[in-house]
Amino acid sequence: MPVGADAVFARRTRILYWVFTSIALVFAGRLWLLQVVQGERLRGQAHANSRKERQIAAPRGLIVDRKGRMLVGNRVSYDLVLDRERMDDALAVAAWVAQVTGEEPEAVARRIQESKEPSFRPVTLARDLAFSQVAYVEARREDLPELSIETRILRQYPNGSVAAHALGYVSEISEAELARPELKHHHARDLVGKSGIERTYDAILSGTPGVRRNTVNNLGREISTEIVVEPVPGANVHLAIDLEVQRAAEEALAGRRGAVVMLDARDGSVLAIASSPTYDPNAFVGGISDVRWKQYNEDSTKPLQFRAIAGTYPPGSVWKALVSGAAIQSGKHRPSTTVTCLGSMVIYGSVRHCWKEEGHGTISMMPALIHSCNVYYYTAGRDIGWRPIIELGEEIGFGKATGIDLPGEVGGVLPSDAWKRKTLKEQWYPGDTINLAIGQGFLGVTPLQAAQFGMTIANRGTVHRPHLFDHASDPLTGETTHRSEDAVVSQVDWKPETLDFLYEALEGVVTKGTGTRAKLPGVRVAGKTGTAQPSSGEAPKGMPRDKRPERYQEHAWFMGFAPVEAPEVAFAIVLEHVGLHGGEAAAPVAHDILAAYFADRAVVAGQ
């Protein structure tokens, strides 16, 4: 008797059969929907599938100095790329790649396996291979067709760390940056300037990517290709920087912390802008390693900080030049007014010292500035009050960013009664004026602002916006595409007698005063030294100078311009916590950068 005689079995077997057949019918319906109803549309998608438009990266523009010398260039990086869809044996590939790169095979295998990209996207296993490695890979392509060499254009900094902070670096654009309006010319995965000139002039440097239309297979392998839109390379940016002066500045700073700024006083263009310690931007190319990044960030000397525009320091005695100007301009304290310096004085109920213990004797303003007498300026400050000092400071541009074409500039602090009430919830005390008179207290000045101060004297009052950018040129034709616009941001209303005084006094500082080490034979140099008490305060009494912790060591300043008869350059130097006077430490740096600038005019010693 067949089992079919069991009615339940037969019925249920037929139910099963009909379940499957119904499913097959549903499939037939779905096929009809996809193939006949939506067939046209899906066929169009299949067509679009194989025709991919891809961007052709535009080479980024070069950055050169004022004489056309290369500061930032481009180079090609050869990367080893793995196509996982064609890969048979991950371990074999890993072992082979490890041989090329000198890594552990396990490390390579982990990179292959841990890639979060979908499997049809290639994985980069090694970046920036040496030529010998590329040759090795190419020679063995046959055995491992899943591996290939891809090229990328990378930034190159031929002078290493020179001007690193000012030039900046590029890296892959972040999500947040993609949303910013000033970077809207970028697409995901583009390289974008992250700091410095690379950031400010990113739009000029970037160029316009081209479009390539490829017929590709699923592996992205091109079967045929045509260029629809040629990429337009980015324009070359010509900076005002003079590579030789820049190098001289960095050599003078080497091994110390500080900054140098030298401006062309006639138009505000930046000849040199250096910050120390520095870093090698080549390390950021193609993605900095986490270890290196951590090192830079945790370094207590802060190599990534751009001290020239983002470091603020009390200006110390450099400020006395400004106080002299304010005194003369206000008419409340004449250059001929004499003060007797006995090494210290009692003022507003407390004892204030001059740096010269035995005192300067009875002096007028000229020798007081030349020899940087504190007692004279305590008196002058008390006589004129804080207001004229702060007003002149504002006119010159202290307390606010200069507007230089670099990201990350800070404005520093120009204190006033209103400022103090707002930030410290305290009124202005007479003692604050005394501190202000010698460039101490709440004052915070960037080296760039100090150089700008030099410019206002050198220019007889005209303040040009400091800028590095000179012009941009088309890399193919050499034609100028962008030009820097000279911007006069303010005009200090110096009285002729004020300028006469400052010219004579500041030249005196270099010829016979505290700044003689800045002397450059053949060039008349004017300047002012400064030895600033760090804002961390005064060292405890009786602590020997050489035993003081570093945070109590003074900053050394030098600010000035040259040549006196027809000023061309204005500059400022600061050396952080060197524990030396401005004349000892900073003036020699001024000498070095001036020697570099005036190389063809200065009288070389011994001739």
Partner: protein
């Protein structure tokens, strides 16, 4: 001595021809998916070798009375389990992310495929040993026969293991489980679905989500689904022509000679071809259903139900996935997808159907 006339009369020719036809279509489309230029694709050559071996196995399976085969069932079942376990030894190898293969010299075997045959055979043996009423012991026997291999396979390949669940369900269903118990089981499973969702691995959940909205992740998890739909759809009514499908030639669809081969058939042969292939499967299902009902004994009947269920479930899961109706589950299209182990298993299962049918009159 073979009585050729009787053989010609009793053999289930529609079933055998449909089986061979599907296997030949499989070889043709493996070649279409893999051929790079002139000449036969190496995968197609291997598939032909597998087909020849499968046909020999089929003839042997037809020659031996299924009741004698049933005597061998425990041995086949035991051997199958041993092979499954060998995958976990150094003999096992990983292909496409699943460690489900045994490397044996120059060819590799996927033990879960022969295990399907052994399980059907063993299940039929277990289900036939009962009296008129279905008892709890019968349920337990059937359940354990299926659960053991399923559990071992699930460790490495959840998708394949899942195909064993309907096998057990079908066997219990046709054995006559009361409707009230069936409804209770369905309700229970329905209640367990949200729990399963909660404990599912994130990538399993993503696979399910992508079915409903492949554009969530068009270049990642939705990629297969979208490309498969485009491949099927661009075939139109008449197809792009054999070896002429751009989606196939340009390789936009991954695993197109294995799990997604139906999409290539649909692209190159169009609605007509794909519908025809579905028709061949329905024919097979019908012949197996028939054989089950005509079977002389419960052993043969369950054997046919098992073969029908495995065929139907693989068809449903695979084509459902290709047409974007089910999540991505790596299950071959029976008889057609590239892979010798699977081809062998399904030809033998089809042979069981013919075997049972031709011996329905034989004396026990």
């Amino acid at each position: 001595v073979i009585d050729w006339r009787r053989l010609a009369r009793d053999l289930d020719w529609p079933l055998l021809l449909a089986t061979v036809a599907l296997a030949c279509i499989g070889v043709a489309f493996v070649d279409s998916a893999k051929a790079t230029g002139a000449g036969f694709a190496p995968e197609a050559t291997r598939q032909i070798v597998a087909l020849v071996i499968s046909l020999i196995a089929m003839v042997i399976c037809l020659r031996i009375d299924y009741r004698k085969l049933a005597v061998l069932a425990p041995w086949a079942y035991g051997l199958g389990i041993v092979l499954l376990l060998l995958v976990f030894t150094p003999l096992g190898t990983e292909i496409g992310g699943n460690r489900a293969w045994l490397r044996l010299g120059s060819f590799s075997l996927q033990p879960s495929e022969p295990m399907k045959v052994a399980t059907v055979l063993m299940l039929a043996v277990a289900a036939s040993k009962r009296d008129a009423r279905l008892r709890l012991g019968d349920l337990l026997a059937q359940t354990s026969v299926v659960a053991v291999p399923m559990g071992i396979i699930a460790i490495q390949d959840l998708g394949t293991a899942l195909t064993f669940v309907p096998l057990l369900a079908a066997s219990i269903f046709v054995s006559g489980l009361r409707w009230r118990w069936i409804i209770a089981a369905v309700v229970l499973v329905a209640c367990l679905v949200p729990v399963g969702w909660k404990y599912a691995k994130p990538y399993h959940r993503d696979r399910v989500r992508v079915v409903f909205n492949p554009d969530l992740d068009p270049s990642g998890r939705g990629y297969h689904s979208i490309q498969s739909r485009i491949t099927v759809g661009s075939g139109g009514f008449f197809g792009r022509g054999y070896k002429e499908g751009p989606q196939n030639r340009l390789g936009f669809l991954p695993e197109r000679h294995t799990d997604y081969i139906f999409a290539i058939i649909a692209e190159e042969w169009g609605f007509l071809g794909a519908f025809g292939v579905l028709g061949l499967y329905v024919l097979l299902l019908a012949r197996l259903c028939d054989a089950a009902i005509l079977a002389k004994d419960r052993l043969g009947a369950i054997l046919c139900v098992g073969a029908m269920t495995f065929l139907g479930v693989h068809l449903a899961i695979n084509v459902g996935m290709v047409l974007g109706l089910l999540p991505t589950i790596g299950i071959p299209l029976p008889l057609v997808s590239y892979g010798g182990s699977s081809l062998l298993a399904f030809t033998v299962l089809m042979a069981f159907g013919a075997n049972v049918r031709m011996r329905r009159m034989a004396r026990s």
